[in-house]
Subunit: 298 residues, 2 copies
């Protein structure tokens, strides 16, 4: 059994606990959360809860970092220092190279593995994009998201002063372009025009057409479904018009957490260092031994 | 530049030459074919052609085995013995585990890598199936092929006594079931009933509904297009009805050869041994360095 801890207990943390408990090859060492307590949370009864990973009764081999994406680096570096491998779903695409370098150094220093950006995008979608380039090296890939709530984008809005609650819905606009529909519940006394400007200036939104709508109660429009349509038309050798597409309609936190759990397995099968999903043999994501998977899946 | 040779010069061999010449990181050391000559083949002018790989003027680092699937093992073992890595598109699913063991031993003895079953199915489809299990560990995956000509199945019919020419078309019947439509041109004096029985008894056809039609000229029905629809509905953590699908419509030899060329790159990045595509980091299939791909594709 792989000894795993969950760090952070929001949507992804809860789904990670479900995924760990559903897998047959993990034992849950505990949950790390700011409150340091599982009081009032039914599913945490009987599970150790602590403020720091060092305070859990048993040292985990791997930690699922379910904290907001912007605190992933600090959390990962602290955990890797203890010799505990990490998995995160860091989702700011433009910052992945510098995160990779930082976590690679931290992982090697700690003698552990860091699996970076192990969600669905970045994550499993990245594997699909890589595979399609190997199939048709020349051509265009379009990744079309949604319709669905982007968790990273929603968290980014909620971090803005004056926002009581918010969600960001991604609407596919074709050819890999998207609109961002932001539904925002204001705190009393804040100027909607200022909040709107802050949202549009945020790096999460600055590159897309973004619309901000103010609503009285965000909970009435919240839905965790999401989807993606990846398409590539390209050239294999000298043969044009090779066509590929990948579609999914999924519950977002459930899929993100499941991929993190699968990646936690892979973490323990790698040499120390940092890896994104495209750097991992896909079979390492599955439980049990390779031979059975080769016979069944290849 | 990676020094590569092509062994066998049928449909896949020709497409492999196109894919090698289209890639920027390969040089073609030569083509190995029974005749030992490229006479009368325009695209082989200026390319060394020999009967044995040892007779090529320059020793390749990797050989693309484009021979019929049933002679892959013998060819691979001979090539690996010379310390040359191999890539094949061996496609008899049920025999992959034993091939894996045999080529792993041969590759380790020769200090080279053997990439086994590096076509699209087995091959890139295997990667998709593996990834989808990591995304939703419980559930069902259906691989629906076609409509399109199966090259392995067609070669298997042509090996039967009395067959002048033949193709086998795969028709998807839903839920991963298929019909096999075989179009056969008989040699004079052979009994169609005997040929039909031999086809249906062949391991390629014994497990599917198979229909054999006799036609006067197979060339009039030949078309190299093919396709696949892979679908999975499953459970991530405790969330049901996660839905995934992968589709492609492709030229079959062009895609097979392209994946073999991509796998040839990966071969030179692995420790000695045998690998199927699900055992390779996907990024190893692409030319150039990892950092750029991580920044661009993750």
């Amino acid at each position: 059994m792989i000894k795993a801890a969950i760090v952070g207990y929001g949507n992804i943390g809860r789904a990670a606990l479900e995924a760990l408990c559903s897998a047959g090859d993990f034992s849950v060492c505990g949950v790390v959360r700011r409150s340091g307590s599982g009081e009032g949370v039914p599913e945490l009864q009987g599970i150790p809860v602590a403020r720091r990973i060092e305070d859990l009764p048993q040292k985990p081999e791997v930690a699922l970092l379910c904290t907001p994406t912007r605190s992933v680096r600090e959390t990962a570096e602290a955990v890797l220092k203890l010799g505990i491998s990490t998995v995160d779903s860091f989702d700011i695409h433009s910052q992945i190279p510098q995160m990779h370098a930082a976590l690679d150094a931290a992982a090697k220093a700690g003698g552990a593995a860091a699996i970076l950006s192990a969600g669905w995008d970045p994550g499993s979608d990245s594997v699909v994009r890589t595979l399609l380039e190997a199939c048709a090296p020349r051509g265009l890939t379009y990744t079309n998201f949604g319709p669905g709530m982007s968790m990273g984008h929603s968290v980014a809005i909620r971090a803005i002063e004056g926002v009581a609650d918010a969600i960001s819905i991604t609407i596919p606009a074709g050819a890999g372009l998207h609109k961002r529909m932001c539904y925002v519940q204001l705190k009393e006394g804040y100027d909607p025009a200022v909040v709107k400007r802050k949202i549009k200036e945020d790096d999460y939104f600055a590159h897309d057409e973004t619309h901000v709508k103010f609503v009285p109660d965000v909970s009435l429009v919240r839905d965790m479904g999401h989807g993606v349509h990846i398409e590539r038309k390209g050239v294999s050798g000298q043969t044009h018009s090779q066509r590929f597409s990948f579609d999914m309609q999924i519950n977002n936190p459930a899929l993100t957490a499941q991929i993190m759990v699968s990646a936690a397995r892979a973490a323990l099968r790698q040499q120390p260092g940092c890896y994104t999903l495209i750097e991992l043999p896909p079979v390492d994501l599955l439980p049990g031994d390779r031979a059975g998977h080769i016979a069944r899946l290849v």
